[in-house]
């Protein structure tokens, strides 16, 4: 069971989830936008205003940190806490998914 410092961030919104997934490797803003679009198969789009705000909020919460700054672009990466939060979220999603998969056939 994860600690309360991890649980208080859960559940993540869909946008935040994908931003954290994208930041499992160092990436700058526009890179994150493109990666999220691709990973989510076009179901999630993140606008620059939303992403700029999210970077600030997530950095303040200690879930991501700036690792590089060049040509007016900041690159971010998950921190240890960010990884713990993402891991716990993925575990929860897996449980939800298991529960849902069994129902798919009978819900039609």
């Amino acid at each position: 069971m994860a600690g309360s410092d991890v649980r208080k961030y859960l559940p993540l919104t869909e946008s935040t989830y994908y931003i954290l997934v994208a930041l499992s490797e160092p990436m700058h803003g526009y890179g994150v936008m493109q990666k999220v679009e691709k990973l989510s198969e076009g179901t999630v789009t993140i606008g620059p205003g939303t992403l700029y705000g999210a970077f600030g909020t997530l950095e303040k919460a200690g879930l991501i940190r700036m690792v590089k700054e060049e040509e007016r672009r900041k690159s971010y990466l998950l921190t240890a806490r960010g990884r713990a939060v993402l891991k716990e979220q993925i575990t929860r999603l897996a449980i939800m998914n298991r529960n849902g998969q069994g129902l798919l056939g009978i819900l039609d």
Binding site: T13, S15, G29, Y30, M33, T45, I46, G47, P48, G49, T50, L51, Y52, G53, A54, E71, R72, R73, K74
Partner: protein
């Protein structure tokens, strides 16, 4: 050839900036492209070919401005058209998809109005103190101009409070979604 700037005046309410965005798009469709926005609702347009551009307004006060903000928007294909008292005007060719939005979730839309509210709230105590001070003064000295000034500052305070309440109401509506 000198570009001719067409001046138009239009009041815009801080809580209804989406109406402003729609109006700027209509103007662009008619071939009037925003060149500059100035305080007190003054807009300067450049005449050109009609183009279907979407306009989006963000509120970023002076103290929060930084070059990474502008770069991120530019990378995402947005053009910075101008700035007016903290309001940032962005434009991009319309695609009628999610790519037309600078804010793609409710939280970030709410945060925009919260930034605005934070700045506006700073001036509220000044207005209240002004009204109280002048109230005391106008009771003591019964000059008509002081009473006039007093009425004016009360009007200003009421107007200001209405603006604050409308923005708060907008935030509440967004929270409910």
């Amino acid at each position: 050839m000198q570009e001719e700037l067409i001046r138009k005046h239009r009041w815009f309410w801080a809580w209804a900036d989406d109406r402003e965005e729609a109006w700027l798009r209509e103007m662009a469709q008619q071939g009037l492209h925003l060149g500059k926005a100035a305080p007190l609702g003054e807009y300067f347009f450049v005449r050109g070919e009609p183009r279907d551009d979407v306009y989006r307004l963000d509120y970023v006060p002076m103290s929060k401005k930084d070059e990474h903000y502008y770069q991120l928007f530019k990378d995402a294909g947005w053009e910075h058209v101008g700035e007016m008292m903290g309001w940032q005007y962005w434009r991009k060719l319309a695609t009628d998809s999610q790519a037309d939005e600078i804010f793609t979730d409710n939280d970030s839309k709410i945060q925009k109005y919260q930034r605005l509210l934070a700045i506006l709230t700073i001036f509220l105590p000044v207005l209240i103190i002004n009204v109280t001070n002048m109230g005391v003064f106008s009771l003591r000295e019964k000059y008509p101009w002081i009473i006039g000034l007093q009425v004016f500052s009360i009007f200003l305070l009421v107007f200001y409070s209405v603006v604050l309440l409308r923005i708060l109401f907008r935030i509440r509506m967004l929270r409910r979604r």
